[in-house]
Point group: C2
Chain length 390, copies 2
């Protein structure tokens, strides 16, 4: 992975035009005259607007993508100059915050002027999405607008689920940064460190290697495995016999990696070795199963049979991997019943995990991009043998 170049930041106007044109085809199929989006990732996907200002919940922002013509930004005045840095030409602003009318009448009049063929406008109402605006304002808009506002989430996920080449280059680069940092971490760790110290070292190294941010970095440890994978790090001291699990979603130019690594302290029991090997093989099977035309169910089954044979007593994650891109997790899910057909240029995690004894979990994870007839590993494959920290 040494040959991966730093991708140019941002995307060409041509790329955004292709995204919009693809979105318009999908909107036509879903019989939508337009969609309007309110959340950081959907606004960024279509506009390129890049800001951390989303941390402030005070002002709503809107981007309207009509079936015909270019997107229209309907945003607070404070965002005007920043939006002008993007390819979006039609930028309409209001003075915010304004408790009496925070952009709703401006959004309504913008939507009313969209050509009506279907009488329906899609919004972020469905699964794996939420609406970043006061719901009372949304309900008021829905009541007073002529068009019907319907669930646009399935259409929006259809637009985003297959990545462009430039998006894959971005994800590959952040995967490379995190892979190299994970690989270098054992030299920085010692028995007696706390979880928090270990995670802080990795966080700093990932920043030094060129990541923009690390919104997600869970670090959890326990004797021979961990009891959960979503809360941590804490001040627990790393001792002989422990496994330290670190999972990071770091970003480069808005795009996430999402994969973990495990480190053993002092020694590895034969039971941990056996489980680690089973998960390593389950990952191999998952990668092999994820090919164009296969279903997410097939990927799940390929991993699950190995995990079950290895004696899994449970897995509270509810799936064995998922999509990723502008967000840490995106559809689809490798889950029995998900049934998404895998297609070229999807980017997916392969994430087998198992609880092999009560309170003892081990989870592996890699990121792949689907190619024409198989897949390409975006992460540097985890070592087959657990690294042992002394």
């Amino acid at each position: 992975m040494t040959d991966i170049k730093i991708p140019k930041r941002g995307f060409s106007k041509d790329e955004f035009e292709k995204r919009v044109s693809n979105a318009q085809k999908i909107m036509n199929k879903h019989q939508l005259d337009a969609i309007f989006v309110t959340t950081p990732h959907n606004i960024r996907y279509f506009s390129g607007f890049n800001s951390q200002f989303w941390e402030s919940p005070t002002r709503p922002w809107f981007l309207v993508i009509p079936t015909e013509g270019d997107p229209i930004a309907v945003i607070p005045e404070i965002g005007g100059p920043g939006m002008k840095l993007t390819w979006i030409d039609d930028i309409r602003t209001w003075q915010a915050p304004n408790p009496r009318d925070d952009g709703i009448s401006l959004l309504r009049s913008t939507l009313e002027k969209i050509t009506k063929r279907f009488g329906k406008i899609g919004a972020e109402l469905g699964r794996e999405m939420s609406l970043r605006m006061p719901i009372l304002d949304f309900l008021k808009l829905r009541e007073t607008i002529q068009s019907e506002i319907v669930n646009g989430s399935p259409a929006i996920w259809e637009m985003r689920i297959v990545k462009t080449e430039a998006e894959i280059d971005h994800i590959n680069y952040i995967c490379k940064i995190a892979s190299e940092a994970y690989e270098a971490l054992p030299n920085q760790l010692s028995i007696g460190d706390t979880e928090r110290e270990a995670v802080c070292k990795l966080r700093i190294d990932i920043a030094k290697r060129g990541a923009d941010s690390t919104p997600f970095m869970a670090g959890i440890s326990g004797p021979s495995g961990v009891s959960q994978i979503v809360c941590g790090p804490q001040d627990r001291i790393l001792e002989i016999g422990d496994i330290l699990f670190i999972d990071t979603g770091s970003t480069y130019d808005g795009y996430f990696c999402d994969f973990d690594r495990n480190y053993a302290f002092g020694k590895v029991s034969s039971e941990v070795s056996r489980v680690h090997e089973a998960l390593w093989l389950a990952t191999e099977a998952g990668i092999k199963a994820a090919v164009p035309g296969a279903k997410t169910d097939d990927v799940w089954k390929a991993m699950n049979s190995i995990i079950e044979n290895a004696g899994a007593i449970g897995n509270n994650v509810g799936r064995l991997g998922h999509g990723l891109g502008l967000q840490l997790t995106e559809p689809p899910s490798h889950r029995l019943g998900d049934n998404t057909i895998i297609a070229e240029n999807m980017v997916l995690t392969i994430e087998p995990g198992m609880e092999y004894a009560p309170g003892k979990m081990i989870v592996h994870e890699e990121n792949i991009a689907i190619t024409k007839d198989g897949s390409k590993l975006l992460t540097k494959r985890a070592p087959r043998e657990l690294p042992i920290i002394s």
Copy 2:
């Protein structure tokens, strides 16, 4: 500020009981039988649940706070072991993701069993809040539940707007970390650095000094001022005559600082000096005006008269400061017409900014906690003279 100790992470059970008891008084006043919350900060405020897993939009989470009794967590199975680390005893889980019923029937049955005195349940429907769940699921819940679901946002902000001593200690500590990093930054900067390099140095230093994360760090530069304050850093090279504006929301144990600093490169024009001095004085006036019993309007007026006299031609921010805490920005707003009465133990930013020539903005910012009869500076006051980088 050298005497500020590292606050103990997390909060005592006693603190959470006081938060809930205060919330219950406010719910009674608002005639709510319960509130249910879905967003990271509201769930953390009442439960102490600390996770970065919110980056994944896949699964909704719920916390129910009834007017009588302890909070009830209604969460995906993956979150069960993590929630057990908190003071919450009543934890109800479902196997997620589940497209057919992602917790809605479990939430409904939980809410149905709450004692009904008012027949109303508050949800995050109003200003400066959104609902972190699919809106279609919310609408289904609203239609099928016996109680009326009403706007709980005003009640929830009333619960959070006045901080506890332990919360103020947390905010003070992250303000200290960022203040010291800002102060040390000039030694690390040179003419010829890019915005991105400058911001990366500060980000790493803040992490080394003990911050947990830096969700917000805008870095923008321009000759004698900046054209906007929400998008950046970029690869722009810092040149003689530039002002570099950096604004960070970094966190310690969940609590934010939110303040900026400005650095001059090579030289400072007399015009920039004049504007900088006016903003420094406006900050002084804002700090002095923010006392218990005063209104946010008074704080705004105290700053605005100085800014106007100094020749402001505009300010697209829409306000001159705001609350902060678990979020980068929280109510109230220092804004004409906001009219919030300032009370002891509110934590506020004092943020005068002005565009003094087209495309040339300078913004100052400090963080304060309101005391019994005045305020206490949580940040180390910005230097009256702009630091000049050579």
